[in-house]
Amino acid sequence: MKPRPKKPPHQAAFEEIYDRHSREVWALVYARWLNADIALDIMQETFLRLWKQWQDGSDIVNPRAWLLRVARNLAEDHAKSAFRRNGTQPPQTMNGVQGHDVLPLDGMARDETFGQLRKELEHLPPADREILTLRYALDYDTNKIADMLDINPTAVHMRLSRARQRLAERLSAQGVEVNHD
């Protein structure tokens, strides 16, 4: 059997950083846009820029902080370009959510609920959306979220609870009954 070509050491180190932080970068951008594809594009662009920095020999002391900062900037740049394309009207996002092996009828009901949930998430402050994304997409606990966003764990807990309550109330008003906590 032919041995696989060994990766150069800097590429292996880079892939380790990618594995460790790519989900966080994705979550940060997703919280801004509530669009998985845009978040994926921006996440990949962010890592491509880091790769180029590495290739140029730049010394980045804290890659995580660098990545999160660049991702935030790219997400904001995307907002500006989206404004240019769409004027004051936000682009219409599809209510459909990527499915993962769900039966058609169940999937339709689920997509409808998810669509309503997404609509209500858009009304939340971006900071609350960040916390929700980190909590439920990445399964981060309160302390880890607080550490990442550099805020108090109590504040994270309160904002999580408040966001859940607000979402439950809004969904109830839409006819989707959910229990809060």
Partner: protein
């Protein structure tokens, strides 16, 4: 009371709903990082390929100048016509004596008023 409890149990809880929603939004499988292909390293260009255009231009100009000078040797330059016919250089000048001085005696007398 039991109806209320049953109703509560039938409702999805917010925690689970949010978890399902965000998990469904996460890309699966998570994409692997693919390093972009290294850009092809450019070979240093030779002096000829770098300056060939300029050298060709300089050669053309030199050829034009040489041709012009060669042709100028075969066909000498003639004075361009001025439009004025060549006349004697003495026209309008007073007569001179042998030594080259102007003969003032030959001057015309000034008109005299005889009234």
């Amino acid at each position: 009371m039991t109806d209320m409890l049953k109703n509560e149990e039938a409702r999805p809880d917010m925690d689970g709903l949010l978890h399902d929603y965000f998990q469904a939004e996460m890309p699966r499988p998570w994409p692997r990082f693919q390093a972009p292909r290294a850009a092809r390293t450019k070979h240093p260009a030779s002096i000829w390929s770098r300056y060939s255009g300029r050298i060709a231009l300089a050669a053309c100009i030199a050829l034009l100048a040489a041709g012009y000078l060669t042709l100028a040797g075969y066909f000498p330059r003639m004075a361009a016509p001025t439009g004025v016919e060549a006349v004697s250089p003495d026209v309008g000048q007073l007569p001179k004596d042998k030594s080259g001085k102007v003969n003032s005696d030959e001057r015309l007398p000034m008109p005299v008023d005889n009234r």
